[in-house]
């Protein structure tokens, strides 16, 4: 059975001027466990709203969301809070998503505290340390605060916070969009490795076609709140059927043809990824 089953999801916001703006319109989506599905579209297309609707961080107006066989929209607030440990999210702005007053230990520990899982403080600290290690941060970071970390490190903390409770589903809301190109590649590689080692299901929200191309197996193209095209990544991105997808492809930066120019190479990670993109 699919891990995510969304049917006819709809959400409209009211602007301060009183206008009704439809952010998500009749969206249906089915995601198998262990899959990584990309949601791609320009800003304002409703892709971030969709991610929040799936986790019920926003309330949908109509439609149904089934996660893990559970009707998310029918859960009471308290039931929903209990389930949140299984369905996590990583945000686009790493610094803004971390409480500046808390230490890294406190930030990564909090999901365990509110989930009331493993008993003692020592157990929790062990889990926190292990998870931080998994995302490439040593125990030295435990007592630091977000402001003392680089953007990449901050996002690793955000990922650790999402993973510490052993979730099945992680919504990645443009997790690398605000990072340097060089860091982007290493974070993406780490996320891909974590997906395999932990058997995670990803919903990967992005506006960057190249990232989605090598990160996701399936992709949905979103435009004005609707899915205009869905299919396997190869299908959709190498042979786009819809005019909007074609326009989106054209608007994206064309893949740089590989040139053996050492001076032009930005860094290892980055140039490797570009090469891969070109050959896919």
């Amino acid at each position: 059975m699919a891990l995510i089953e969304i049917k006819d999801l709809r959400k409209a916001f009211r602007t301060p001027q009183g206008q009704l703006v439809t952010a998500v319109d009749s969206v249906s989506l089915s995601v198998e466990a262990g899959e990584c599905v990309g949601i791609i579209g320009e800003s304002g297309s409703g892709k971030s709203t969709l991610g929040r609707l799936i986790l019920r961080l926003h309330e949908a107006d109509s439609g149904s969301i089934i996660l893990d066989g559970e009707d998310v929209r029918a859960l009471t607030r308290q039931q929903l809070r209990r389930r949140r440990r299984h369905w996590q999210i990583v945000f686009q702005e790493p610094f803004a998503s971390l409480n500046p007053r808390l230490t890294i230990r406190q930030i990564v520990e909090e999901p365990l505290i509110v989930a009331r899982t493993s008993g003692t403080r020592a157990d929790r600290l062990r889990r926190v340390t292990e998870t931080l290690e998994e995302v490439g941060l040593s125990a030295d970071f435990l007592e630091r605060r977000p402001a003392n970390l680089s953007g990449g490190q901050q996002q690793r903390v955000g990922i650790a916070r999402a993973l510490v409770t052993d979730p099945t589903l992680v919504v990645l809301d443009e997790p690398t969009a605000s990072l340097d190109l060089t860091i982007r590649a290493s974070i993406l590689r780490m996320l891909a490795a974590l997906q395999v080692s932990r058997g995670l299901t990803y919903v990967f929200i992005s506006h960057d076609i190249e990232t989605v191309r090598h990160f996701c197996s399936r992709v949905a193209v979103m435009h004005r709140g609707r899915f205009v095209e869905t299919g396997t990544t190869r299908q959709v991105l190498s042979d786009p059927q819809q005019p909007y997808t074609q326009a989106l492809m054209l608007a994206a930066m064309p893949p740089i043809p590989y040139s053996p120019n050492p001076a032009g190479a930005v860094s290892d990670g980055d140039s490797q990824d570009r090469t891969k993109a070109g050959t896919l």
């Binding site: 986790l55 961080l57 809070r81 209990r82 389930r83 949140r84 440990r85 996590q88 999210i89 945000f91 702005e93 803004a96 998503s97 971390l98 409480n99 500046p100 007053r101 808390l102 909090e110 999901p111 509110v114 989930a115 402001a147 955000g158 916070r161 409770t165």
Partner: protein, 272 residues
């Protein structure tokens, strides 16, 4: 009433010592004269070696009474501040949306529109006039400020990413409010609390001066100033001057502490 500029650590330490020390001194050290016993033989004596601050028109020692008054004034001011914090902050944190929240804010606005002293006098007239009634009256006046302040923080932080993240990991509304919102706004609340304590002292004095509030024989600075006022006309300045000085010293100290807290917040913020 905002403190500006850099505060020196020595001044801050002195200010803190005044606030904490004054009532302690009154409690622990023996007073040179009984602050409550009138002495018909020594009425209106100017400051001398026996009566350091002189005596008032009842022949009571002004030095002893000034210290004795600290035992009443400061606890009332602090209790009133504490009470308005306890009531105002949670109300503000949770009244961010919905009809109840809107209704509460209209009440707060209404309170803000009325002169403070009028509210205090009316509520004391309704309640009686003991020390607890004074505490309640001042808390009624001060609590709305904390409601506003913490609500403003809650509204602005409610839409922040890290509060959204806190909801996403399953935090309860209470945990979000205290661990995430208040934790990022407690500095301004603390500054407001210190300033509230300072203005509470003024309010206690004003109430006494108007003849409501704590009744004799217990001295308060306000009552002492009110009594000493009538002696000024005869050139007997000391009965009003010393309690005034004591009150101003404490109010200034509270403002200095508020300024120091504000400075610290700014430094922390800049260090980010």
């Amino acid at each position: 009433m905002r403190a500006h500029g850099r505060s020196s650590p020595i001044l801050t330490a002195f200010a803190a010592a005044v606030i904490i020390g004054l009532p302690l001194v009154a409690l622990v050290l023996p007073l040179p004269h009984d602050p409550l016993r009138p002495d018909p033989d020594s009425i209106g004596i100017a400051p001398n070696l026996s009566h350091w601050f002189g005596t008032d028109e009842n022949g009571m020692d002004v030095f002893a009474r000034t210290l004795e008054a600290a035992k009443l004034d400061l606890p009332i001011a602090l209790a009133a501040t504490g009470l308005s914090l306890l009531v105002g902050v949670p109300l503000g944190l949770f009244a961010t949306s919905g009809r109840a929240g809107e209704a509460l804010m209209r009440i707060v606005d209404a309170f803000a529109a009325l002169p403070i002293i009028v509210i205090a006098v009316v509520s004391i007239q309704l309640m009686g006039g003991g020390a607890t009634d004074v505490v309640l009256a001042i808390a009624i006046v001060a609590a709305p400020r904390f409601v506003r302040l913490s609500r403003a923080a809650a509204v602005s932080l409610r839409s922040s990413r890290y509060v959204e993240a806190a909801v996403a990991i399953g935090c309860s509304p209470v945990r979000v409010a205290f661990n995430h919102i208040l934790r990022n706004a407690y500095g301004v609340v603390l500054v407001q609390a210190t300033l509230t304590a300072a203005s509470a002292l003024g309010a206690i004095a004003a109430l006494n001066f108007l003849g409501v509030g704590v009744r004799p024989p217990q001295p308060t600075w306000g009552a002492m100033i009110s009594d000493g006022f009538s002696m000024l006309i005869r050139g007997e300045w000391w009965a009003a001057a010393f309690p005034t000085a004591a009150m101003l010293l404490v109010i200034a100290s509270l403002n200095i502490v508020a300024g120091a807290i504000e400075n610290r917040i700014e430094r922390v913020e800049r260090a980010r």
